[in-house]
């Protein structure tokens, strides 16, 4: 058989085939068709309702009737600076900062191992181990931690067996971070949050570290840099976008959470609880909206600072 006589039948012409031709010729049409549904969802349903809600913060509530006064005012926003409210903000930002720092410190070595040393099998096991906690119920995990942290719980039992109960008591007697037991202290709250959000820090840091070519680390060594200097001058700066991405998750998830502080922690409110109470039982939608603005502003500030310090230079 020669090539010249070898003839395939042409595919049949049909409406679907002509439609494919049209899409191929007019590239923007297919982009529009594919993007319209998600854009409507994200733009109108999600962002639209968020902005409508946030817009409520320029209204105020009538103290006597409890109805919303629909006149623009800065009074509601200024209420955030009342000592009681401002305390809530500072407390929440403080907890979120502690959780983020702890997550970063714990996640980095794990992510570094997974990105640079793990073989294919170890890496599969790593992904499974990191993702598995995300598949189980949030409430189960939080109640699990309540039991771990309780006065008669596993952590204090272990501390007792190791002869560290004195150290635990000393920690609990500290102001601010301490309390009657771990389960009703900021320490317990931070530990629980750190456990919950750790995967959100590990995965982006690992992805960033994986993009650092091995030759850059070799080049640093070649030019005389020891392991410590290489880490500070090459690995950490190049992993920074991943750390910042992870921090965006851990920080904003902590800022918005209102369940963990209810189950574990002190009676003092955090931001999420404040919003929950204000828009629910209190019916103070304007103040709830004003509170909700805070995480957005804090994240904007955080990202601006990160950009200023050059965290995104390697992107």
């Amino acid at each position: 058989m020669s090539l010249a006589t070898f003839d395939l039948p042409s595919p049949r012409e049909g409406a679907l085939r002509r439609f494919s031709d049209l899409l191929l010729r007019r590239g923007h049409l297919i982009v529009l068709l594919l993007l319209a549904p998600p854009l409507i969802w994200l733009g109108l349903v999600y962002l639209g309702s968020l902005f409508v809600f946030l817009g409520q913060s320029i209204f105020s509530i009538d103290e006597f009737s409890g109805t919303i006064v629909r006149e623009p005012t800065t009074a509601t926003l200024l209420e955030l600076f009342r000592p009681a409210n401002f305390d809530i903000l500072m407390r929440t930002v403080g907890i979120a900062t502690a959780v983020t720092l702890l997550c970063a410190v714990i996640a980095f070595p794990i992510a570094y191992y997974a990105a640079r040393y793990a073989g294919p099998r170890a890496k599969a096991a790593f992904y499974l181990a990191v993702m598995m906690p995300l598949w189980s119920s949030y409430l189960v995990k939080v109640y699990g931690w309540k039991l771990l942290l309780a006065k008669e719980g596993a952590i204090s039992w272990f501390a007792g067996r190791l002869g560290l109960d004195g150290a635990l008591d000393a920690w609990l007697s500290l102001p601010l971070v301490g309390g009657p037991s771990l389960s009703v202290s900021y320490t317990g709250m931070v530990l629980t949050f750190t456990y919950l959000w750790l995967p959100f820090m590990i995965l982006p840091v690992q992805a960033a570290l994986e993009r650092v070519p091995a030759s850059l680390i070799e080049a640093a060594g070649d030019l005389g840099a020891g392991p410590g200097y290489t880490f500070r001058s090459v690995i950490l700066p190049l992993a920074m976008p991943g750390v910042v991405a992870g921090a965006v998750f851990t920080f904003s998830l902590t800022l918005g959470d209102y369940i963990v502080p209810q189950i574990i922690g002190t009676s003092a409110l955090v931001l999420g609880q404040a919003v929950y109470t204000l828009q629910g039982t209190a019916g103070n939608i304007p103040l709830a909206a004003a509170f909700s603005l805070v995480p957005i502003l804090v994240m904007a500030l955080f990202l601006t600072l990160a950009k200023r310090t050059g965290a995104f230079d390697a992107m």
């Binding site: 070519p213 030759s215 850059l216 070799e218 080049a219 640093a220 060594g221 070649d222 030019l223 005389g224 840099a225 020891g226 200097y229 001058s233 090459v234 700066p237 190049l238 050059g310 230079d313 390697a314």
Partner: protein
């Protein structure tokens, strides 16, 4: 015109029985070599032949499983890269993307604690040396491939290595740039008087730049010598085929041509076309062959022919000759003096 072959002076780099295995793969399998100070030394071979691993063993990115490595007489086994007096120009250049060009070049100086003003001055000088003056503030991403290569060169040279290692330094450049850089690298090496050790799979690059070439195959060095020797007198079948595609003359054919029985190499350009009826010149054997394929290559035409005895040969004849066509019968003259004996095979 060659740099002195390694003599009594302490070699810049010395390998004695060096081996490096990756699992069952013998990447480097008993290599001995000696590179003289000030020598431009090429490691040539196909991919997987062990040449890059040898370079990495000198740099310290790999440690040998057996054998001994010295740099200027000092044992370096077990020393990490940052304690060795050598620097590398990486194949992908490995420039730090988050640092400016100036900071990249000054990196090694900063590690060594050179004061800021001094290291900026040295970095400027190094960039001027590679003809990139004034680009200090750029980011590596803003440079062309050729410029990045020069930055990598400046960054390695500024810390005054005793030996400069280059891993496929020109591989990613286009042809014109590659030829320019060949000339520049060579004159830079002459000017600095440094030992350059460079790895390449391109025989043209190795032959044109190096004082000596080591040809690698399957983790071993199969021939070391000046480019002319490696090209003109390949040691065995592998070198003959890899360096410039020489013909291999088997013992029975050698006897038929009138030479002593043995394995020979024959460069394609040594074979001449004979006009019909013209006898072969003195000292040459004439053979009949038919042309299988003709390819025009500018200065020469490459003829693939098959002799009446059924042996495939390649001849390179001046393109000015009238070109035979595929299927034509031709007479070829093979000068017996052009038959270069090779190692017998066991």
């Amino acid at each position: 015109m060659h740099a002195p072959a390694p003599t009594s002076a302490v070699p810049a780099v010395r390998f004695a029985g060096v081996a490096r295995h990756f699992g069952a793969v013998r990447a480097v399998d008993g290599v001995d070599l000696s590179i003289a100070p000030g020598e431009f030394f090429a490691m040539l071979g196909p991919s997987g032949s062990g040449k890059t691993t040898c370079l990495r063993l000198i740099a310290g990115f790999e440690q040998p499983d057996a054998g001994h490595i010295e740099i200027f007489g000092e044992t370096v086994e077990g020393l990490p890269p940052y304690r060795r007096p050598v620097n590398t120009v990486f194949q992908d250049y490995a420039l730090f993307p988050h640092l400016s060009v100036g900071e990249n070049v000054a990196y090694g100086l900063k590690v060594r604690g050179v004061a800021r003003a001094e290291r900026e001055k040295l970095a400027r000088e190094a960039l001027a040396l590679v003809k990139l003056a004034g680009l200090e503030a750029r980011r590596p991403a803003q440079l062309s491939g050729g410029q990045r290569q020069r930055v990598a060169l400046a960054r390695a040279l500024v810390v005054r290595p005793k030996v400069l290692l280059l891993d496929e330094p020109l591989g990613a450049l286009d042809l014109k740039l590659r030829e320019e850089m060949q000339v520049e690298l060579k004159s830079l090496q002459r000017a600095l008087g440094l030992s350059f050790v460079f790895v390449t799979h391109d025989q043209g690059e190795a032959l044109s730049m190096a004082d000596r070439v080591a040809v690698f195959n399957e983790g071993r060095i199969v021939q070391v010598g000046p480019p002319e020797t490696v090209y003109e007198r390949p040691a065995n079948r592998f070198v003959a085929a890899f360096v410039g595609a020489a013909n291999v003359i088997e013992p029975d054919m050698a006897v038929a041509l009138g030479a002593a029985s043995g394995l020979y190499s024959l460069r394609p350009e040594k074979i001449a076309l004979l006009a019909p009826g013209v006898p072969a010149p003195d000292g040459a054997a004439a053979i009949e062959a038919s042309v299988v394929d003709v390819s025009y290559q500018g200065a020469v035409r490459r003829l693939a022919v098959r002799t009446t005895a059924g042996v495939a040969l390649t001849a390179a004849v001046p393109a000015s000759h009238r070109a035979p066509a595929s299927g034509d019968s031709v007479r070829l003259a093979i000068p017996l003096g052009a038959l270069m004996p090779m190692e017998a095979e066991t």
